[in-house]
């Protein structure tokens, strides 16, 4: 027996978890099930993006630009609005989150759809943006967003869509990236971020 073994044995005798009873199989099963269902219900963002961006005011589930019919993303409720041809429909949930500083490389990696657009209409909590430029993804004429929450503190600018204003918006897997990755087009640094990323 070496000195190391002695030392380790001595430390182990002081292990506070030595007397910890193992979790029952039922507890384990419950925990596993809860973990997997929490993930699909509450986390719409892809894994890599979720870690860094985390959804703020708007975990927007969107139908994919290429989809002929709107299909509700996992996080969405059943009330997905019907899309007109050539448009994308997004909608929001009011989640809170923490953000870290946006990076162009992160945006480039995460976003599969990004555009610049002007708000044309806000009606019954649904915002319609006319697309001026598509940075990434298929070209569409307009994007609709169901803005359920009052505002998102993590969206640059005023925090929510307002009539007539220009916005830069990016999305991944049908969820809009906020936390400094989407917001008013004249927000400081946002356009530079888009130019660097795409």
């Amino acid at each position: 027996m070496t000195d190391d073994d002695d030392l380790r044995a001595r430390l182990r005798r002081a292990d506070p978890a030595a007397a910890l009873e193992p979790a029952s199989p039922a507890q384990v099963a419950h925990l596993v099930e809860e973990t997997m269902s929490r993930n699909t219900r509450r986390w719409a963002l892809p894994v890599a993006a979720a870690l860094v961006l985390l959804v703020g005011g708007a975990a927007w589930a969107a139908t994919r630009p290429s989809a002929p019919q709107p299909v509700a993303a996992p996080a969405s409720s059943a009330s997905a609005p019907a899309a007109t041809a050539g448009s994308v429909v997004l909608f929001t949930t009011g989640m809170q989150a923490k953000c870290r500083e946006p990076e162009a490389t992160r945006l480039a990696e995460s976003a599969d759809f990004a555009f610049e657009g002007t708000v044309q209409k806000i009606e019954n909590g649904r915002v319609t943006l006319a697309v001026a430029r598509v940075f990434r993804g298929s070209t569409v004429g307009q994007v609709e967003v169901a803005q359920e929450g009052e505002s998102s503190e993590t969206m640059l600018g005023s925090g929510k869509f307002e009539m007539g204003r220009d916005y830069l918006v990016s999305a991944a897997e049908g969820s809009v990236l906020i936390c400094g990755y989407s917001g008013e087009a004249d927000s400081i640094g946002l356009r530079e971020l888009y130019e660097a990323a795409f």
Binding site: L7, D15, A17, L20, T35, N39, W43
Partner: protein, 173 residues
Amino acid sequence: MNVDSRRARFETLAPAVIDAVRRYLARRTDPATADDVLSETLLICWRRFDEMPAEHLPWAYGVARLCLANAERGQRRQFRLLARISRLDPPPQTVDGPAPADDDLAAALRRLRPEEAEILRLWAWEDLTPAGIAVVLGITANAASIRLHRAKEKLRKTMTVPGHEESTEGSRP
């Protein structure tokens, strides 16, 4: 990988991870925080399941370590507020557990720097090799190996000279 096989693989792996992380947390925090951090850790493991290396335990400990640090930051904030309001006594040590019979060891561990004590815990309690410790702490295996060696030396030295502060006093007749 389709969704079902991902779920099936996670279900196979999860019990071992749960057991290990529960112990890891029981050694370092109170039961309520441990429960919270365990479910947070599992969620991250599930979300980042595809990144999980074959040696998954050190990786899971690493995730738990960061989640615990986050939780404790939150608690510290709450506590500072509470302390300002009611001028409470400082909170009890987080590493508590059943009263350790080995007072010498406990005192020696307390005298080490927190990082040194933690490396010894990872080695002795989580039973990790320097490579595993490196994954948990996000350092190189080489650095982990050197630090572990130094921490062991320091612990031994600290224990073999019990009460060395007083030992010079009253030693002469």
